[in-house]
């Protein structure tokens, strides 16, 4: 179980993620999206879920028991090839419900100083 003091913990990824046209095209093809000109609305999960995994493993959570409960995106502008995205993730909440631990993580993606997209992942750690 996670200790309550992890709420508010922020993890700023050391690296930025260069977005290539190839990665957008591959993602579009995988989901059957015909328009490759911008990233589809859920593309950022490719970056943020791995960052959340690092943050939560560092906080002592058993990633193998994690199930995705909810997901939300706010997209200020679409992600495009040439973006170099830096991800910062914050644990916004951790609570127990019916023996399962529920953790919510917010991730912000910046290109330089511009906030491109934010996302919220609710992850359930099965008891």
């Amino acid at each position: 179980m996670l200790s309550p003091d992890i709420v508010g913990r922020t993890f700023v990824g050391a690296n930025s993620f260069p977005v290539t046209q190839e990665s957008i095209t591959e993602f579009c093809r995988a989901i059957g999206e015909p328009d490759f000109s911008v990233a589809p609305p859920t593309f950022s999960i490719k970056i943020t879920l791995a960052e959340s995994e690092t943050l939560l493993k560092d906080s002592g959570l058993d990633w193998n028991r994690v199930v995705h409960g909810e997901q939300r995106f706010e997209i200020n502008r679409p992600i495009i090839a040439g973006d170099s995205l830096r991800c910062s993730s914050t644990i916004e909440g951790a609570r127990m419900v019916a023996g399962n631990e529920i953790v919510s993580v917010r991730s912000d993606l910046h290109h330089e100083s511009e906030l491109v997209a934010s996302s919220w992942s609710t992850l359930v750690v099965r008891a």
Binding site: L49, V67, Q71, F73
Partner: protein
């Protein structure tokens, strides 16, 4: 001026989910969790069979939202993962996505999106805000 009305139902769209597509999504997204590819592994952790990535199902619902005015027009998108989409070997599972306008927000519409596999609702509380002009 938007041609949409609150309460308006948008036409449903059908999407296919199969094992091959899950491998493609695993490679494109980086989510290589074996529960989405390896039947023996999935069963060993108590699942009925291989299940689709929740984010793959959500991405298909996202295509439904993108189809209205392009991916650039999707400003907000959310979903709750209610039930896993079970994907047996050699089977094309059909996902039916439909939408209803629940709010007009200036030049954008807010949609409530429903995603069904047969009679099982797999995404819940799914909303998308789409700029329409």
């Amino acid at each position: 001026m938007s041609n949409y009305l609150v309460g308006q139902e948008l036409p449903p769209q059908s999407f296919t989910i199969n094992r091959e597509l899950l491998i493609g999504y695993a490679n494109a997204s980086g989510d290589q969790n074996p529960i989405h590819q390896d039947e023996a592994f999935a069963k060993s952790v108590g699942l009925e069979n291989v299940i689709a990535h929740g984010m793959f199902t959500m991405a298909l619902a996202g295509r439904y939202a993108s189809a209205i005015a392009g991916s650039s027009a999707v400003k907000e998108f959310s979903a709750r993962f209610l039930k896993p989409v079970v994907v047996p070997a050699g089977v094309d599972v059909e996902l039916i996505v439909s939408g209803k306008v629940v709010e007009i927000l200036g030049s954008a519409i807010k949609l409530e999106i429903t995603a069904m596999c047969g009679d099982i609702k797999v995404l819940g509380m799914s909303k998308a805000v789409v700029e329409v002009k």
